[in-house]
Symmetry: C2
Amino acid sequence: MGVTTKDIAQICGVSRTTVNRAFTNTGRINKETKEKILRIAEELNYRPDLLATGLKNGKTQCLGVVVFDVRNRYFAQMLNAIEIEAKSREYFINITLHEKDRKQEQEMVQRLVDYRVEGLLLSPVSKGNVFADFLKKMEKPIVIIGNRVDEQIPFVGIDEKKAAKDAVRTILGKGYQNIVFVCPPLADVAEENVYSHEQREMGFLEEVSKHKEVSYEVLKSWNYLEEVEKILSLTNEKTAFFCSGDIFALDIMKYLKQKNKKAGQDYGIMGFDNIDTLDYVIPRLTTIDNMVEKVATKAADILFDLIQGKEVPTKTLVDYKEIEGETL
Amino acid sequence: MGVTTKDIAQICGVSRTTVNRAFTNTGRINKETKEKILRIAEELNYRPDLLATGLKNGKTQCLGVVVFDVRNRYFAQMLNAIEIEAKSREYFINITLHEKDRKQEQEMVQRLVDYRVEGLLLSPVSKGNVFADFLKKMEKPIVIIGNRVDEQIPFVGIDEKKAAKDAVRTILGKGYQNIVFVCPPLADVAEENVYSHEQREMGFLEEVSKHKEVSYEVLKSWNYLEEVEKILSLTNEKTAFFCSGDIFALDIMKYLKQKNKKAGQDYGIMGFDNIDTLDYVIPRLTTIDNMVEKVATKAADILFDLIQGKEVPTKTLVDYKEIEGETL
DNA sequence: TTGAAAGCGCTAACAG
DNA sequence: CTGTTAGCGCTTTCAA
């Protein structure tokens, strides 16, 4: 590699210990020696080797973050929030991606641990006991964002269930008699961790079943476009689609627009997440802000607490927010 | 930390060298000894310390990637492409973000180098000789994506200038007599590396000035919404806006829609980039695909060549593609 | 105020 | 087939 403390020591005619002291401000050191060392180091463009430092100290000032796809706005916003939080504590973040490949997800976690990151933030697609045990075996501070893994591993998110209930109430308040919960991710429930969607479904069902006069159903298929159209053409009731993700809502709106059906007029529609693509789409979609930035910031906070050996809650909920648009 | 080769050696009653041999398949080793070592390692959940390995070998199998904001679709798609490419070579990528903060950008580069990544992919906001020298001083393989820094540092992108010329021709072909190039980033040309936008502007000017009968102007302000509206209200000519970024186009379309002006009818508009938000917006924006995924993949390829000590071109252009929409 | 020596965990040359 | 030894670059006693 480049210049090492050894080189500097040699040039300055001192020992490596002294050189080290010059950098760390630790222990007594002659002012001139120190200045000389620093000057020479500067001249030679000396840079400490972080691998060596990390190895020696057992600390790397790094956090690992594992998410599946940065193209997803949710993660993009999340990463930014984490980055900012980490930076404020002079930590470095190490982002890794896996394309919903559960094997890779574990590999990424493992590798980050092997690189001795001091803590991990995950938004996992894996689930179940095996995965939970795997994470626990890491013996590293870990905080889960969004898709809960088990009761013990600290988790940060919003109260998805309550949010879904609120949404149903909002929709009913607008006079809809038929509500369809559109949740394609549930089609993958067998393999994938879709905790947040499951929670939303529970909230939906709990609330909607309280109202005898309302008819409802849940769509768990990725073929939702056709199904939605069919539903609309077969019913006479005032129908609203509650989508477990803004993307699905946008997709439906676009599709139905081509069929000359207008959101907010011919049907109602509500999303979930408040992704920023919504800023460019007319009419403005009514949705629920998942507060991903707040959640991520909170998760990072908790992770730092864990790193410092503090006790932390195993479940932390951040307030969500309904965003009124023009589609109900 | 956890279990080390030393522990395993002790337990198996052999030396650390032997343990090492069991893992690396290098040198002769007794089959049973090997199996025993591997079994014990497995049981103890042994994991090599990557910091130590890296320190020893001077290799980390890591690439560093520095971008300014992952919320930007362009980078999001770029990162995914890089990730895939790196993974196929068993490299790990280390993504870091800085919010267009040029000081931080340099710090990130420096830190990645200090962590001994084997190469760097940057899409920089910094520019100029000082920055170029800084990068060269790293003495690491580096490939620049999108915003060129200087003639020597390998760069991958599309032929922005030619693409802009093509776009102008397309617009003229639709009968527009007045073309406005909307390029807010040029407002920041003093501080920021906006190479790609400068190239686009050059292309625009070169092409448009060939046609004496066409009037044109360039908008370099972040207040483009009002200016656009003013222009539309003052001119009688058939006007098109050529936006140096789809985001600006979407913003304009939304704004003008509220003023009851329709894209493709009351005015023409064309974007640049082909971000995937376009999928959800009607009418479909005519634009140019910046091929970010291909560019990123190519950049990673070149970086690997550099890492292997091969010669690489200092400038690589990937074919762009015009996407016909409904807004011209 | 400074230096010698040992060690973080892994690896490789060289002996045996 | 296996072990000894030294060393990657940095840090930290402990002794001078």
